[in-house]
């Protein structure tokens, strides 16, 4: 039997939120602490050594990473456009925008893979030194989050879109919630990029 949980679609009047939106913001708060711990580690490790390599000198590909930054920003725009289209009642456009988001995400992962392969080719592994260790760990964890997002988007473009036929408002809310997660992934990269590559 399907139990009806209140405030899944309509916001609760006194909080003004529907359940999943509150849920995702709480989850994002915990993610802030997760990446925060890693940034904290970076700061401690970096201040603990007399010499910390600069990204450029270690051969980090700045143009490629800049491109990746733009790719993620574009994907953030497309996901919010998807949500706007759904609010206007246009599933087709929404799905197109979601597919663009997914494509951008794939592009990001491809560029990341190229970067990683290049590093391994030059015998730069996490074990090489702490600069690479934290670089691979931070970008790796971020990459896992991108991957997770991709899986969810693929689901909503595909089988998940069935919900539009019966509960379009709830489906739109789900896309909004995914979008919030995706913007956070973009946000992390906005900080990761300068900190790892440019400083």
């Amino acid at each position: 039997m399907h139990l009806e949980i209140p405030y899944n679609v309509r916001p609760r009047p006194d909080t003004g939120l529907y359940n999943a939106k509150l849920g995702i913001w709480l989850f994002l708060a915990s993610e802030v602490m997760l990446f925060g711990a890693l940034f904290s580690s970076l700061i401690l490790l970096r201040s603990g050594v007399p010499h910390w390599p600069h990204g450029r000198d270690e051969g980090l590909n700045i143009p490629l990473a800049t491109l990746n930054t733009l790719v993620l920003i574009i994907s953030s725009v497309t996901v919010v456009m998807a949500w706007a289209s759904l609010r206007l009642g246009d599933l087709k456009k929404g799905r197109i925008y979601l597919s663009c988001t997914l494509l951008c995400a794939m592009g990001f992962m491809v560029i990341k893979t190229i970067e990683y392969m290049d590093k391994f080719h030059h015998h730069h592994f996490p074990a090489t030194n702490n600069f690479y260790a934290i670089y691979f760990t931070l970008t790796g964890l971020h990459g896992l989050h991108v991957l997770g997002g991709m899986i969810v988007f693929a689901y909503f473009i595909g089988p998940g879109a069935k919900m539009w036929a019966t509960e379009p408002a709830r489906f739109t809310n789900r896309i909004e919630v995914c979008g919030l997660y995706w913007h956070f992934v973009d946000l992390v990269w906005i900080f990761l990029f300068p900190i790892l590559y440019l400083l």
């Binding site: 915990s30 602490m33 580690s41 760990t137």
Partner: protein, 634 residues
């Protein structure tokens, strides 16, 4: 208009209480008949209904049973450790179950002692207490207490349990791995943990599962409490138990991720050979380690304790919530100082994030940072005292009932008092120099968790057993369990303070007898081991009582304790997946309206009983007379 005497307003009519109750029972019966008639339509598979259940009550039961099994297992590890401590190096037949690798000929090896120690701590904290306090009690009771049909995200709830169980099984499986299980303490400090045997990697993987389970659960709890409170259930009308779970969930949400990050870093160190925690030039067994170096072992400590300090409040807050409910019910009075309790618990939660380095006073921190953490630690003792005082004041002038849950509940108070007070010299940097890493610390935290939290867990089990099963546990067996446990548990832990003050270090596989200054500990250790095994014996009536009462226990109705909170107005053992309440409750008053002179039908006034005009939620807390309202305002 004043309501006619002895009559309640139901809808548009004035009815006598008996008629009102009959009306409600008819409604419930009609609903149940309707469901029985349509029941065949909702045929769920066994797998869906009982294994991958999305009903918070069954998930709560799953958590409870699993956690109690882990509790018993973690307890057994301690019993084995204490044998070694009583007679170090002695051959014990029972130790042979550890296998030839760990205990050849029944003599425990030091490595085995370390494994037992690390896993006892890990299992008790992460696999037993938190899943029991939050996963079991929290899951089962919170939606019921706030009048919700279930948790906000039932499927996520199921996912939480199914991250917890595999995590726990991975931890258990690590015992079978080459080199044994994790043996670097539950705190897993590097560099030791970085270079430890394979079992440590399993520990880290298990922790990642457990942390994920925790995170999913905490999101669920927070959204449920914020969004799904029934009509009239304002925040200040919530039972104290729900407030405790609310703050606990915030702690779990924000404090666990740094440990997850740290776990990832340690995994990288162990598996990818990075040096996050390995300093340059580390020599192990005479050989320089072949790593890049440049790491910092203290980084692990910061990240670990950033979680682990809020974690200890996660261990105690649900317990305080349980005690609050039981005390209010068995004193037949409202809890004294509800507002102070709420303020204290929120402040405590906040402060718990800024005290963590008091576990690190001996890592070479400077005076400024030590002073900061010492100050915050002293400040955090204030809300704990407020909570304890409020509970003690609640006993004054009460009409006390001494049933088993109440015995455990009032015992919690002095036991937590001892635990808390002994924390003070540990929180002050100067005295901590002498006491850090001694048995004093072990005595301190066990007092808070064992005769503290675990007694509260027992109290909760005896108290809510009738709601879950419809049967009451046997009082005689309960009292035997109580008295035996009380005496024995103090016998185990009280001497630890003396040992610690005399300088007996913790984590010594022989209990300290290798050191001149600690030789006296031998006789004390023998005494404590005897008490520990006697403590085990006194759990047997409890375990027997738990199972036998399910089958042969005295059958009771939906509210055997005559309580006021919403879970008691739900039918006994509410059915799964059919919502919790026959009629969705509307709340008219605070959670502890016991002995209210305005209500003469009984000495308890349930939160949702209809009376007078149903009023919109007011901060005053419903229909209270001036006197009662003044009492409520502390």
């Amino acid at each position: 208009m004043a309501p006619p005497k002895r009559q309640l307003r139901v809808g548009k009519e004035w009815l006598y209480a008996g008629d009102a109750e009959r009306l409600l029972r008819d409604a419930i019966r009609m609903r149940e008949e309707e469901e029985a008639a349509h029941g065949h339509e909702h045929h769920e598979s066994f797998l869906r209904k009982y294994v991958f259940s999305i009903d918070h009550k069954w998930i709560g039961v799953q958590y409870g049973v699993t956690a109690l099994c882990f509790l018993l297992f973690g307890f057994s590890l301690m019993l084995l450790m204490r044998l070694q401590l009583a007679k170090p190096g002695h051959a014990f037949g029972i130790l042979k179950i550890l296998g030839e690798g760990r205990a050849p000929g029944g003599v425990m090896l030091p490595e085995a002692y370390n494994q037992l120690g690390a896993m006892h701590g890990t299992i008790m904290v992460f696999l037993a207490i938190v899943p029991l306090a939050v996963g079991a009690f929290g899951n089962y009771l919170v939606p019921l207490m706030i009048g919700a049909p279930d948790m906000a995200f039932p499927k996520l709830n199921m996912a939480s349990y199914w991250c917890y169980l595999p995590g726990g099984l991975i931890m258990l499986a690590s015992f079978a791995v080459t080199g044994g299980t994790a043996a670097s303490g539950w705190t897993s400090y590097p560099p030791l943990s970085d270079i430890a045997t394979e079992g440590q990697t399993w520990w880290l993987v298990g922790m990642i599962f457990l942390i994920t389970s925790s995170l999913l659960g905490s999101v669920n709890f927070l959204v449920t409490i914020i969004q799904l409170r029934a009509k009239g259930m304002t925040f200040m009308r919530m039972p104290f138990f729900v407030w405790a779970q609310f703050v606990t969930s915030f702690l779990l949400l924000l404090a666990f991720p740094p440990l997850e990050a740290a776990g990832v870093l340690q995994l990288m160190d162990r598996v990818a050979h990075t040096s996050f925690f390995l300093p340059t030039g580390l020599v192990v067994s005479g050989q320089m380690l072949n790593v890049a170096g440049g790491g910092n072992p203290v980084l692990w400590q910061h990240l670990f304790w950033f979680l682990a300090h809020p974690e200890v409040y996660v261990l105690i807050l649900p317990a305080m919530g349980i005690i609050g409910e039981i005390i209010a019910n068995n004193t037949r009075k409202p809890l004294w100082g509800y507002k102070s309790l709420v303020g204290a618990v929120v402040f405590l939660g906040f402060m718990s994030f800024v005290v963590w380095a008091h576990h690190m006073f001996l890592t070479g921190m400077g005076t400024v940072i030590s002073a900061f953490f010492q100050t915050t630690t002293m400040i955090i003792s204030v809300p704990s005292v407020v909570i304890l005082t409020a509970m003690l004041m609640s006993l004054w002038g009460s009409s006390m009932r001494f049933n088993t849950p109440m015995l455990f509940a009032i015992t919690f108070l002095p036991m937590f008092g001892i635990g808390g007070l002994t924390g003070l010299p540990l929180g002050l940097a100067a005295t901590d120099i002498h006491l850090h890493d001694t048995y004093y610390v072990i005595g301190h935290f066990h007092y808070v968790v064992a005769p503290g939290t675990i007694f509260a867990m027992f109290a909760g089990i005896y108290f809510w057993f009738p709601k879950v099963t419809g049967k009451q546990m046997n009082e005689t067996l309960g009292k035997i369990h109580y008295w035996g446990s009380l005496v024995c548990i103090n016998g185990v832990f009280f001497p630890m303070f003396a040992q610690g003050l005399a300088g007996v270090s913790r984590r010594l596989y022989d209990g300290g007898v290798q050191y001149e200054h600690a030789k006296f500990a031998a006789s004390t250790n023998m005494f404590m081991t005897t008490a520990a095994w006697a403590l085990f014996v006194f759990q047997i009536p409890f375990i027997f009582n738990f199972f036998s009462s399910m089958i042969w226990g005295k059958k009771v109705g939906s509210n055997p304790w005559q309580a006021t909170t919403l879970e008691w107005s739900a039918t006994t053992s509410p059915p799964l997946a059919h919502g919790n309440f026959a009629v969705t409750p509307v709340v008219y008053r605070g959670p502890y309206e016991y002995s209210n002179p305005e209500y003469t039908e009984a000495d308890f006034w349930p939160q949702n009983v209809v009376v007078g005009e149903p009023e919109p939620a007011s901060p005053g807390g419903g229909m209270l007379t001036h006197g009662a309202a003044a009492q409520q305002e502390h």
